[in-house]
Symmetry: C2
Subunit: 196 residues, 2 copies
Amino acid sequence: MELGLLYSGGKDSTLAALLLEDFYDVTLVTGHFGVTDDWEHARAAADAVGFDHERLSLSEAAATEAVDRMVADGFPRNGIQAVHEHALERLAASEFDAIADGTRRDDRVPTVSRAQAQSLEDRHDVDYIAPLSGFGRGAVDRLVDDALDVTVGPSESIPRADYEAELRVLLRDEHGEGAVRDVFPAHDQTYVEGPR
Amino acid sequence: MELGLLYSGGKDSTLAALLLEDFYDVTLVTGHFGVTDDWEHARAAADAVGFDHERLSLSEAAATEAVDRMVADGFPRNGIQAVHEHALERLAASEFDAIADGTRRDDRVPTVSRAQAQSLEDRHDVDYIAPLSGFGRGAVDRLVDDALDVTVGPSESIPRADYEAELRVLLRDEHGEGAVRDVFPAHDQTYVEGPR
């Protein structure tokens, strides 16, 4: 069975791929809005861990809506959630038998409820799988330590390809540098260099 | 890391073991109340799929309480849930670094909430993992078809070692054959014969 996994180049989505690779033909899929080339960081990480990689075109209108929402809210959560749901819809509508993402049990955003999962599956005749949703943060961190060579650093300086990089650029272009600092407080991110 | 997985010999807990085997030293663990020798069916299934197997002693008082609850309710759900929680507590208190079970996203019983999972982890300094909780019924069935040789049949005639077999005997002994039929309507179960 062909499975497409939403992929950022970070540790969670990479671990999700490793959990599924014995059971599916896994392709790592990175959503992008056409704003920057940050998806290339995800391709490099996918190459380093030895998976096929594809780009998935996301709607720039969805990005603009998300950015406006973030500015109105003063925090990124709802905007990121909306973008993730948009990406899952696009991925579910593509040719894969199954789709997946790297959401964990303890994630606050993005989250996919059981009802949302069932709705995706029913409307698109696809299996939706969240292989890390049964793992807590501690378990994920221990498995990543065992399996992956990871770089950790401040969010703005780590090369990766979650929605944040492109949304930051749109946010700055449309609302100014202050809006980026207001919406995204400093936090660390990870980038996968390859297997250990 | 040493992981103990609650194991019935059925397809869900066997698939859970296969999902985890690249990441943990997995031991399949079957809870039993000392009422019957049905745990031996789980050991045979564990041998067939090539995993280590242990028994886990459960409290007969917990079984009697569960059976009384089932008779009072007229259905098994709450009794099965209580027994599963008891088994997880016992397993969490043993020597494993991580514990797991075969609960799926769409299971109605047993279920382990995020709060219950976190509580188990905090109180016992252990990781609790539900590897199938990100998989729906359709995805599990398709993976099982690919990976396992399974026998399906009516619940009362399939040799397996979930709590049901022992609870049925206790129920009959304490409340009569009619109580068994009242509490457990006819349904199919699966038993894993081995890998495909």
